[in-house]
Amino acid sequence: MLCKIRSALPIIIISLFATSAYADYQFNLQTAATPIATEIYDLHNLILLVCLIIFVIVFGVMFYSLYKHRKSVGHKASQFSHNTKLEIVWTIIPFFILVGMAFPTTQTILRMKNVEGTDMSIKVTGRQWLWEYEYMDAGVKYVSNLATPRDQIDNKADKAEHYLLEVDNPMVVPTGKKVRLLLTASDVIHSWWIPAFGVKQDAIPGFINEAWFQVDKPGIYRGQCAELCGVGHGFMPIVVEAKPQEEYDAWLKEQKVKLAAEAEAATKDYSKDELIKHGEGIFNARCAACHQATGKGIPGVFPPLVEGETFANQDTVKRLTERGFIKDGKIVMGPKDKHLDIVMHGIPGTAMQALGEQMSDLDVAAVITYERNNWGNKAGDMVQPAEVAALRKSKG
């Protein structure tokens, strides 16, 4: 009985791949949106078919034998123990099958690795736990964060269609152009992956990796980080929006205008309430993943920002104090300059990012003000964007 199920299995699998009736069950690679992804899709089908055929033949023989050569039907055992000719044949044939597979594969690899003749370059920086995009020729730079609300993750609200696959600021590219990516990271190894493009490349701190793609059809394409990078690994998706050239140009212009406006906004002064309100949004989007919305952190892992809460790992506290990051046992309720220093420059060797590199002056100022005046913290003071800008200038 098992024999029959087992022999039928390959046929079941092939038919599953063939059908498109199972809308929610996907059995094969995603629909290709680039020429490379199409090659990969076809290559995989070829390899799979070869494997299936070999599987059916070999296990057909085996299950035939298990059925026919049973002791219980009285079959008597032969005693042959080798057949050199047969063994040579079944070593040589697989070898040639593999060589056959290697030819189209090698050609695809060479095409994948050919980064020449690209039309534009985007520097992609993986950070814990978001992506940063810098359009090298246009001077446009921004971060791309998971946009799924925390409530959906915590099962307090219904999950939307693109749950965990949506971001606030996607990468935008023009269709029909060969886009080159220069990948790096700021902290640990991440990996940038869009299945529909057939592109996956590790983002390694201190190094640049190159990848390229060319999308011909406008649309939105989604992927995820593909290298374990800490607690937020499952929560830093990638979204690429491919637009026709004119729409892309318009978008690019919009970005430049937005950046200019942000720079302008940073020269103003704000009231404490304005800063706190803005800071709350920034905190919940950027800081709560580790420090938690309550500000209490995770004992032993992420420090609390609420006055009076102790960080369980006292040895870490000691070390951080020795390195000057904590004064009188206080981080947030200590002097403003130390607090600014930590947020702007991070704490090397830990997951605390140099947020100054990722956030605008206004955002930094706001989130610090929020932390110093929330959850019962009563520092009373506030930070203006201009102070952040001045710190940036002095530290270079």
Binding site: D24, V58, V61, M62, F95, L98, I109, H233, G300, T316
Partner: protein, 524 residues
């Protein structure tokens, strides 16, 4: 000139009670210790898997925050590999190798005990890391920097546990190699040893070559963590990818370390229940040796997305594809062993057949992963999780189960309950496939691995897999019950409960005498 001599105490060496297990120099006792240790670790790591699958039952975070989830996945991997699979096979080596070659014990019986007792020490370090501030290591069993540099105390405990386990393995493999080369009964040349002994000889060679490399790698991790070194930090001229190269230079032979003894067990069981000699003994030996040699040249296929030059990708791809050939040869040989045999389907044989089929599926998914362009899509997805569970669970772990059923009668003198054994087999095999086969589809569809929460299109398969995994986990409790029941009693096994079995251990009583083959047996 020294004239003191020792009272030749080994005749009297049959201690009882706690002393027997703490101070043993007897390969059978030490084998039993390894097997029970590995079973306990298997159940613990399996429990972690149940927690993982509970969280993955539905999208959203229901039970565990991502930090704890990452601890579970990391520790599940570490404990299964170093605490369950490897020690189980060493347990088999201890019990079976001296018996199969007609030796009185291992070459270094005391060293043998040290190899075992290092493992509980390592387990204490590793398991207690769950309760230190920050919790257990959560950077993946592969320990990649810079992530592994960020963690707290538990990461150091993990590094030292790896050191201890490495020391255990290195000394164990010295012992096994020396035993096999030096202690075979006269009249047993190398090319007439049981295949299980060959697979362990070759495995021991892989162990002794690879474990020191792992030791180097984790030592450099330690110095980067605490002593300010820049081995894996670009600012100082170091490279996180260098860790990956060194790690996988160990890591790839490691996976063969975990499967070659399984092949040896299959090569013992299949001829027995086919009542026919193993087909192509010589080529089975050469194929195993070829796999071992080739295993040193393929490591970077775990790293196809790090950005290595085209020539490297091509080389590692070709080498990896090549390794499919000797592996395929073994599958053909097992099939040819069954062909025109007189086959019966006791539990060991059921497991062996399932292993050959399911391991081959794992082998094919490995071949798919070897193809670089396809690997770009599948690296770090559930396709990889499917692949390695097919080769490690339905390959290695189920071979261990097969071997336990096969040799329990010899070890205990009792037959196990055949009905329970068959129940265990069917539940395990079906539940295993329900759990892990859909993971191929999830990987193809784009679900990354090592994530506690996932997009909605992956929900149906995840739910199915979780249900399968709960059945799979519960079935192993049946295995525990069956083993304990057999240890405590059962129909008398006799010397040779399996009529087709023919290696030296079946010439001894069941259980064998505490000290066996004190005089070398005749072997023609």
């Amino acid at each position: 000139m020294a004239t003191t001599t020792m009272h030749d105490a080994h005749h009297d060496a049959h201690p009882t009670g706690m002393m027997r297990w703490l101070t043993s120099t007897n390969h059978k006792d030490i084998g039993t210790l390894y097997l029970w240790f590995s079973f306990i670790m298997f159940l613990f790591a399996g429990g972690l898997a149940m927690l993982i699958r509970a969280e993955l039952f539905q999208p959203g975070l229901q039970f565990f925050q991502p930090n704890l989830f990452n601890q579970f996945t990391t520790m599940h991997g570490l404990i299964m590999i170093f605490g369950a699979i490897m020690p189980a096979f060493v347990g088999f080596a201890n019990w079976q190798v001296p018996l199969m070659i007609g030796a009185p014990d291992m070459a270094f019986p005391r060293l043998n005990n040290w190899s075992f007792w290092l493992l509980p020490a390592a387990a204490i370090l590793l398991l207690s890391s769950f309760v230190v501030p920050g919790g257990a290591a959560a950077g993946g069993w592969t320990m990649y920097p810079p992530l592994f540099i960020q963690g707290g105390t538990a990461y150091d405990m993990t590094i030292f546990a790896v050191h201890l386990m490495g020391l255990s393995s290195i000394m164990g493999s010295i012992n096994i190699i020396t035993t096999i080369l030096n202690m075979r009964t006269p009249g047993m040349p190398m090319m007439r040893m049981p295949i299980f002994v060959w697979t362990w000889l070759i495995t021991a060679f892989l162990l002794i070559s690879a474990m020191p490399v792992l030791a180097s790698a984790v030592t450099m991790l330690l110095t980067d963590r605490h002593f300010g070194t820049y081995f894996f930090n670009a600012a100082g001229g170091g490279d996180p990818v260098m860790f990956q190269h060194i790690f996988w230079f160990f890591g790839h032979p490691e996976v063969y370390i975990m499967i070659l003894p399984a092949f040896g067990i299959l090569s013992s069981i299949i001829p027995t229940f086919s009542r026919k000699p193993l087909f192509g003994y010589d080529s089975m030996v050469y194929a195993t040796a070829a796999i071992a040699v080739l295993s040193f040249s393929v490591w970077a296929h775990h790293m196809f997305t790090v950005g290595m030059p085209t020539a490297s990708q091509l080389f590692f791809m070709y080498a990896t594809m090549l390794i499919a050939i000797p592996t395929g040869v073994k599958v053909f040989n097992w099939t040819a062993t069954m062909w025109r045999g007189s086959i019966s389907f006791e539990t060991p044989m059921l497991f062996a057949i399932a292993v050959v089929c399911l391991f081959t599926i794992g082998g094919f998914s490995g071949l798919v992963l070897a193809i670089v362009p396809v690997d770009i899509q599948l690296q770090d997805t559930y396709y990889v999780v499917a692949h390695f569970h097919y080769v490690l669970f339905s390959g290695a772990a189920m071979s261990i189960m097969a071997g336990v059923y096969y040799w329990l009668p010899k070890w205990t003198g009792h037959m196990y309950d055949e009905t329970l054994g068959k129940w265990h087999f069917w539940l395990t095999t079906i539940a295993f496939n329900v759990t892990f086969f859909p993971m191929h589809f999830l990987g193809l569809a784009g679900m990354p691995r090592r994530i506690p929460d996932y997009a909605l299109q992956f929900a149906e398969f995840n739910m199915l897999q979780s249900i399968g995994s709960f059945v799979l986990g519960a079935s192993q409790l049946l295995f525990l019950y069956t083993v304990i029941k057999c240890v405590r009693g059962g129909a008398p096994a006799g010397d040779r409960p399996w009529e087709g079995a023919d290696s030296l251990e079946w010439t001894l009583s069941s259980p064998p005498p505490y000290h066996s083959f004190e005089t070398a047996p005749a072997f023609k």
